[in-house]
Amino acid sequence: MARVVVDVMLKPEILDPQGRAVQGALGRLGIEGVLDVRQGKQFVIELEGEVTAERREQLHALASELLCNPVIEDFILIVEGDE
């Protein structure tokens, strides 16, 4: 079994009001020195067998066409076990 993790984050120039709200809450908890908080999504995908080159291409297509909206978000795809 292979495990693939896709992290999706809003692009830096896109306002993240949820992250800002979390940052505000940190301040109220007395945690100081927090410069910024950005909220994102993580997808953990489990696959049968090995991640072949063809599979990897399909996963990139899945990430860029479905998991992330390239207008507002970037993604990082990590196949566990990769160096």
Binding site: L10, E13, I14, L15, P17, Q18, A21, L66, L67, N69, V71, I72
Partner: protein, 223 residues
């Protein structure tokens, strides 16, 4: 004149949209998300709601519904399509319109009667309005903040593709007060507020929304 109204799992405003079509004098045709069949309609409305529970991103999963592949290819051939609220989100996710709709900048769901200014009357859905006409229709959204990069915003404005702007209050942080846009051809329009809820004095704040639905009947007749 057959105007299709798509129902996705989680659509809310499909019945109101169909009612608005009938009040304008058209025949409303129910379209189902799971059927790759447009039933010979002359135009399509993608209604508001929370299709697929807004999971992943608003409109992201609806984009891959069988009916949407038909709509995307027919829109490329000139079929008029109006996306309202969740429908606007679906049009952006489907790349029929540029930009994206994100969480309201103040994080609250907002529901109010909203004043808009109609800025483009060349689209298939706004031809019955006067340039600069102000209308009041309901607005209700949590993720209505229209964003796009500066280059795209400049292009939309430069090409007259902003069809409506918020007046008085910007209710969700949308860039440049944009409430609705169209594609270059003018057959595809996305609008965050809800004209279909302002078509009768009994239930709406005004009847200002009816113009979107009469416009399309006239546009299709003249085409």
């Amino acid at each position: 004149m057959r105007i299709g109204v798509v129902t996705f799992p989680g659509s809310l405003d499909d019945r109101d949209a169909a009612r608005a079509v009938r009040l304008a004098g058209g025949e409303a045709v129910a379209l189902w998300h799971g059927d790759a069949d447009l039933r010979n309609v002359d135009a399509v409305v993608l209604p508001g709601g929370f299709s697929y529970g807004d999971y992943l991103r608003c409109g992201a999963i609806s984009r891959f519904a069988p009916v949407m592949s038909e709509i995307v290819s027919a829109a490329g051939g000139g079929l008029p399509v109006l996306g309202i609220c969740n429908g606007f989100q679906i049009l952006c996710e489907s790349h029929l319109l540029p930009g994206a709709l994100t969480r309201n900048d103040h994080l609250h769901f907002i529901c109010r009667d909203q004043r808009l200014r109609i800025e483009d009357t060349t689209s298939a859905w706004t031809a019955d309005y006067a340039q600069g006409q102000e209308i009041v229709v309901p607005l209700k959204n949590g993720e209505g903040c229209f964003v796009a990069d500066e280059h795209t915003l400049d292009a939309l404005e430069g090409e007259g593709r902003v069809i409506a702007r918020y007046v008085g209050v910007n209710p969700n942080g949308s860039r440049r007060d944009i409430a609705g846009i169209r594609n270059a051809r003018g057959n595809v329009v996305g609008l965050m507020p809800h004209p279909e809820h302002a078509v009768e004095e009994l239930t709406g704040p005004t009847t200002d929304g009816l113009g979107f639905f009469t416009s399309i009947l006239h546009s299709v007749v003249n085409a």
